[in-house]
Subunit: 304 residues, 4 copies
């Protein structure tokens, strides 16, 4: 595959897609990002690297962080995690309280906010310093020693995060948080405020395309079964309430964030990260989705 | 009407009803109340007073306080209140988040927790010291200068009130709270912790049976129209998700609390308060409900 | 009370209310009714009769029929009815399937379509000829020997009644219909197609203002307790999803229909029927609601 | 891969799984099937065939038929289908009415009953004889000229299918059925009553593992894009409300039926069908699910 040419074709192809979505504006730090940014980076399991556009500019990874905290939680508690959070698609928006009430405080999956808050609670219980553990893990996986939290974003999230506070309080009220609400939210708001580039994200996710083994570290981050399962959770739950649409059009396990990033993997082949800040109604990058759809169309290769 | 004889007959009639419900146990202060307590006090608009049993023992009025805060809020902001809270029965449990999400943060009515939290927010905005205002109002209406908050109950409510914290955070996230979440909850948890007796409650509610005029104060607390409307809200929304059942069996506007109290009025005739701590599944006093049903049966007089 | 003068004042008062609602148009026979019709008839329990406007013109009573079939079903099976249908307000539109699914085929109350279909099923089981029984009852109660079904409306209802067919099929699937779906719907569509005038309706409902005794028949149609309970069900469930609003503004037990009619009672005093075809979003007559609100305002007398 | 040995290991592995589920009993013809049946057939895209157990015994394919009617509908109307049915996982049981009401008669996806009924309606509109077209297609795809409907099952489905009748009536009421309710249901009940063996099903689905080209016919049944999309819909929606669980454990696009069958594909490699009648709470074959999980574990190969 000539991925360099493919990325160029994609960059051409997505040009008419700008202007159809809306940059997230619930906090000033996100609203200030120019809507015309576009970056894409693809790493193959055999060491190839290809990029285009703003692939080395860092952005707020937001919900993409849920994949990485899930990785860590699974490595700590294994299957026990699934007693506290489900693995079914929710069919509802990412911040919905409805299902949580009907299902007595057990979030549908770890990719919606409520589920990710439970995952953060697991980290808090098992780490001496959960924020540092998360940073250490991402720095190791991405090979970028200066990956960090954007303090402005973290503070804004904390100041405006009333719905997440409602979710966490509700979880606490149902006995599904071990730590204090504010401690869990502090970690959660920080993980959402991680700043990374497409280049870094494609490296950090590459083990999911490689049976759990990080080519950079030369070591297993997850067992093959865990890696398969994280991919399954991404495919069925990773795109908010547009999971089916994304599987239908793109056909790759993926996770999106309202900062406009999407990370996807083709198991056995590559990990890819794309970033463009304009979002559709479900909160997924419009241009990013189009780029990934064109990627699997041009290569003729998806998981389906 | 020989109300003294009627109350005696009721006290006989409800004896077999004890042991069928469960005393509220979500906080220790409520769990410690003996389940066999029973008191009832009835005041007629022309000055009659009748009581039986533990009618002068104070208990935690809990959600009954929602009627009194609604009274105050209506007197402050009038019809404007209904832009922030509805007046339809909810068909859901008192602490449900579901409807609040479907209806964008506008609680169905002021008798469910979410609606009462909005009402508390109104008080906080319009009073210099909302807790003192509430105390002053209840002391004036009841004629009992030492009505107060039970500090143990208030603290327990605050420590365990995660679902209410979730509701308040959700309201804040939807722009339906003007004050800080914790400030509103502090007032809300205190109003739930008010300790009053049946005798005091029957006096405090008597204006609702008298077109808004308190016989004790000799002054209008509400306009006749406001009094009618508060009664309407009580009848359609005052008994959690057992509103229809209570209207069907008892047929009086009423408000219950999980402390086991129920206040009811027959407009033009009387206000009545009953207390017995055992609750049914909806959170209403089992013995109290039976007592009020027998009252309207014996007198042959309800609003229907 | 000078009810003649009051009705005249009401007729004046409601003039600006025309043009704000929409005549039902889901079947041609209803869509053809002029929106400016207005009639009102009030009968006191002591024999007074007062009317204004189009009070003797017949219209399609639609859901008002649910009160009369409930009357008959209660007289046949008494309390057993409530094992098959609840008596709580639904908080949902009249034709909602949602609650029915969550609550395993037990409709919330007999005033919503699903509940009324169960009531029709009871009639079908207990009557040799349920349609004739219904006609006989209404003719006797109203004193109008020629009350009948509008065959054009009945046929249109049957041809377009897919949502009601869905409700009935769902009830059948949950074991809550004893008779065949189409047989029950045939009765249900006919009862909706009953044509009566305000004058006739006010007489047919007068027993509900009189402890169950029809002044016309000089006989008890319901026991005092049954009459109280039907009134309670009307007040908490009779106005679709605007029950609270109607109780708040009008304060009378009532039942509306999409033909634009509303029947209401003030127990101990009068029954009143009003008709004007324009409907609000909940399916209740806009002008009719305003008329009844003005009635309880002018008389200073509601159940609250 | 030595698939013969793998199937033998699977047959050993699933032995302890019998007795944990429940054979479908909503119609007599299904209830009569012995619970200890087990068959499995796997066909590779390069012509390999492997089977074990009752792989040539026909059973009622039930909801598996939804994949084949979807194939036909897509080949008739292409992308236009998705204006009438969504492609998101539902998060609800297969026969739920709730979402259909909230979403105005547009079913979430074609794998739940409501969506499949819309698909049947498409066939009815575009075929002279839709039942014959369906038979012709399945006979061609499977190479078995005598594949047919089980008339006893079809009649039982029709007699007991009240919930499906409710769904179809509801769709009709929302304008999402072009044909008569009973005509659509007749086709739907027949497609559910198709009797096929694992051997036949693995052949009939093989084009989905082969980019839309049937190796048997040597011709494209679907375009590569359509084939990818049908697989995506199966993976995100094909296992009722256990989609996430199945993706997590098995990791293959699949469709199950309450007759105990499951068809799955590994794109580029094979199609597999398994049958064992005992069902879990979601309506999926317990033993069949365990068999497929063991298949992807032993081969170390799923889409993830």
């Amino acid at each position: 595959m000539d991925f360099d040419r493919i990325l160029e074709e994609i960059a051409q192809h997505v040009r008419p897609c700008f202007g159809k979505g809306r940059v997230a504006d619930y906090i000033p730090a996100l609203a200030a990002v120019p809507g015309d940014k576009f970056g894409m980076a693809l790493r193959t399991v055999d060491g190839g690297y290809h990029e285009i556009g703003d692939a080395r500019e860092r952005f707020s990874i937001q919900s993409i962080s849920k994949v990485f905290t899930l990785n860590i939680a699974v490595s700590y508690v294994g299957e026990a995690l699934w007693r506290r959070v489900g693995r079914e698609p929710s069919g509802n928006p990412f911040n919905s309280l409805v299902q949580l009430e009907y299902e007595q405080g057990i979030p549908r999956n770890p990719m919606i906010n409520a589920g990710a808050i439970v995952v953060s609670d697991v980290l808090l219980t098992h780490c001496d310093d959960a924020k540092q553990t998360l940073l250490d893990r991402l720095r190791a996986l991405s090979g970028a020693a200066d990956v960090g939290f954007d303090p402005v974003v973290a503070r804004s999230e904390a100041e405006t995060g009333f719905i997440n506070r409602a979710l966490a309080s509700f979880l606490k009220g149902h006995g599904n948080l071990e730590n204090e609400v504010e401690a869990v939210l502090d970690l959660y708001f920080h993980q959402c405020a991680l700043a990374m580039s497409c280049s870094e994200l494609s490296m950090a996710a590459l083990h999911l395309a490689n049976g759990g083994v990080s080519p950079l570290l030369g070591a297993a981050v997850l067992t093959p079964q865990q890696s398969k399962r994280v991919n399954a959770v991404m495919l069925t739950c990773g795109l908010y309430d547009a999971v089916g649409e994304f599987a239908f059009r793109v056909g790759l396990p993926a996770k999106s964030g309202v900062g406009g990033g999407i990370v996807a993997v083709l198991p056995g082949h590559y990990a890819v990260a794309v970033w463009s800040p304009e979002l559709d109604e479900s909160g997924n990058s419009t241009v990013g989705g189009a780029a990934l759809e064109h990627l699997t169309t041009l290569t003729g290769h998806s998981v389906f």
